[in-house]
Amino acid sequence: MSNAAQPLFDLTPTDEQRMNRDTMQRFAAAEMRSQAKIADEADTTPVDFYAGTAALGLAMLPIPEPLGGAGMSHSPTSNALIMEDLAHGDLALALGAVSPLAFVNTLLDQGSDAQRELYLPPFCSDQFLAATTALLEPRATFEPTRLSTRATANAAGYTLSGTKTMVPLGLDAQLIMVIAQLEDQGPAAFLVEGTPQGMRREPESHMGLRTLQLATLTFEETQLPASALLGGGDFNLQRFLDLSRIGICALAVGTCQAILDYVTPYVNERQAFGEPISHRQSVAFMVADIAIELEAMRLMTWRAASRAEQGLDFHEQSYLAKLFCAEHAMRIATDGVQLLGGHGFCREHPVEMWYRNLRAIAILDGVASV
């Protein structure tokens, strides 16, 4: 945060953010774009890719130095920029890569000191530690404030029952933050290690995000220790959702930028009726509208992130950003395919994958806390 008492309207990233962006952008271009389509078509989780992201040290950035981390101040804006830049490489891989960071961010934001000391140091090694968040439940009218997954207090701690869906890295994650309704109390988050008795993991198959290893996690009277309850039960579900919505928006922004960057040279090169198709207003205006709505998506995301960072209320801003990004990201992805015509429908080009992946923006919640 700046020391200025009354900051001015400003869209300039800090020097640190600029350097960080540079690193992320180079990584996205070199390591993600090429792998994304191969893994998507092979329908596999690129384990080596995720292992390779450990070199970026994403999860350790905000962890305090005494716990082994880099000790950068926890910055929702910087986190949003990281997610935007990685998603320019690929949405699914970016979401998997930042899944541990999102876990760490929530732990830093709402965990107890004891939980931070216990769970954060393992993130500060050169190994990728798969950690994730489980919020969604398999219902058409799912609403994060109306959870079916239940936790009940008992002498040994809590028992957990219910089904979670679309959990990123859900098969491999060794640390899982499960959001559940704590009986007689309200929404709460539980830290689940490994695969305790009564917990099942099953792979899922979706229209997109096929390299994210989305999984169903089922809990049947799963016993958790008392220490598993995040922050001793003081869980602020709305704040958790709002911070995560900023991350999901940032991922949408990065992906849509990739679409704009892809279709621009395509429509300039593709010839029809003796000239580039970009010389036709119906094509050119579609590209213009992608650029316009994308910039609005970005500014709304940045505003919500910056308000969170400055300690201002950001609830309405993150809600509206998520709504706007969900709607316009899908529009942009649809137009991206349309601009390539039949070629866009075929898997030789990445636009069909972006279309399938971006359908998830409206559905995802809770998985990308900044």
Partner: protein, 397 residues
């Protein structure tokens, strides 16, 4: 540091001007909508208040770095606040015409001294020439130490009530864009005549005039900019580019008008629906909300996105960053958002929205022009597309 909040000073300005809009503009909204072509004399008071510094100081500079929040951000902030009050009445504020912006932007010190404080309107559009403003037919011929103007101008905002006109005319139509110059004409000059006031769907408080020039003679020194017609391609491009650049500065404030009127419609709609127990918690997912709530969320989101685009374009201008594309982006987005939001608000409030008992129907009529003047939606898309695609105006027509 990335921060998309207004500075404390600009926020205070906004709050103050919203009070002005509420108490000195809104009470006259219906009156001047019904009495088209009668002068809203009450706006002179508002203008006086502004001259007294009610809008606050223009520029703030952070001490830590060189970021500026200046006249452009202030302008979009002020326009938004005023247009929450009334778009037509803002356009009827004496001494604040589009011509004033042009004179102050490119006039010589003498021209600014003589005409800067008058009420100056802008004459660009002609009966046969709208968006393709490079194609105008009004002529200016030098005769001794005078320019002689001939032609017809339409859609001159404040053309009836202003004291001064800034007129686009060509020195030689065969030379195209490069020969188009702007001239300052005092109202009352022989040969310059207001021939008609338009009757319009909205912004009826604002007069829109047709003005004819027949052998209208003005002093040679009343030309804005250079008399030279550039001969090489580079210079020709630059000459008209200079004229068009005015729009980079005026498009964000005009876009801000849509932000203001859409905010007014949303505020009123949420109040009316609130009386019938429709409220928003910004928590329930849109697909689990009622249709009317989902639509309100969507409109709030569209409003926010458009507003931030406007602020970005203005911020770029304040910080001397080239913003031609961003100025068009914000005008395109705000123009269509304002139109969509105000019309939808009428629909959501049903008979209450459609009725003249309240102002929602008026907002819906007023908003349409903002997607047309200062460059239509389609012209803005064209400009953005050319920039994004790297195309010239001859390639992407």
């Amino acid at each position: 540091m990335i921060n998309l909040e207004l500075s404390a000073q600009h926020q205070e300005t906004y709050n103050n001007l919203r009070l002005v809009a509420e108490h000195m503009m809104r009470p006259y909204s219906r009156k001047y909508d019904s009495e088209e072509h009668s002068t809203p004399v009450e706006m002179a008071e508002v203008a006086k208040l502004l001259d007294g510094g009610a809008a606050g100081a223009a520029t703030e500079k952070s001490s830590a770095d060189s970021v500026r929040n200046g006249a452009n951000l202030l302008a979009v902030t002020a326009y938004e606040a005023f247009c929450w009050g009334d778009v037509g009445l803002l356009l009827s504020m004496p001494g604040r015409g589009l011509g004033n912006a042009a004179i102050n932007a490119v006039g010589t010190p003498e021209q600014v001294q003589e005409f800067g404080k008058t009420y100056a309107a802008m004459c660009i559009t002609e009966p046969g020439t709208g968006s393709d403003s490079a194609n105008i037919s009004t002529t200016a011929v030098l005769d001794g130490e005078e320019w002689v103007l001939n032609g017809e101008k339409i859609y001159v905002t404040a053309g009836g009530r202003c004291d001064t006109l800034v007129v686009w005319a060509t020195l030689d139509k065969s030379q195209g864009k490069a020969a188009i110059k702007s001239f300052i004409v005092k109202k009352g000059t022989p040969g310059c005549e207001v021939t008609r006031l338009e009757r319009k769907m909205g912004i009826r408080a604002s007069d829109t005039a047709a003005i004819s020039f027949s052998d209208c003679r003005i002093p040679r020194k009343n030309l804005l900019g250079s008399e030279e017609v550039a001969s090489d391609e580079e210079g020709r491009k630059k000459a008209f580019g200079g004229v068009m650049q005015t729009f980079d500065n005026t498009r964000p404030p005009v876009a801000a008008m849509a932000i203001g009127v859409a905010r007014a419609a949303l505020d009123m709609t949420r109040e009316i629906l609130g009386r019938e127990d429709v409220t928003l918690d910004f928590a329930t997912k849109p697909c689990n909300s009622s249709a009317v709530q989902a639509e309100l969320y969507k409109m709030e989101a569209e409003w926010e996105g458009a507003k931030l685009l406007v602020q970005k374009a203005a911020w770029m201008a304040d910080n001397k960053l080239p913003n031609s594309m961003e100025a068009s982006m914000c005008k395109a987005k705000a123009g269509r958002m304002g139109n969509y939001v105000t019309l939808r608000c009428v629909e959501l409030c049903q008979s209450l929205g459609y009725s003249e008992n309240d102002l929602l129907e008026k907002f819906a009529r007023d908003s349409k022009i903002i997607d047309i003047f200062e460059g239509t939606q389609q012209i803005q898309q064209l400009i953005v597309a050319r920039r994004v695609l790297g195309k010239s105006s001859s390639e992407l027509k």
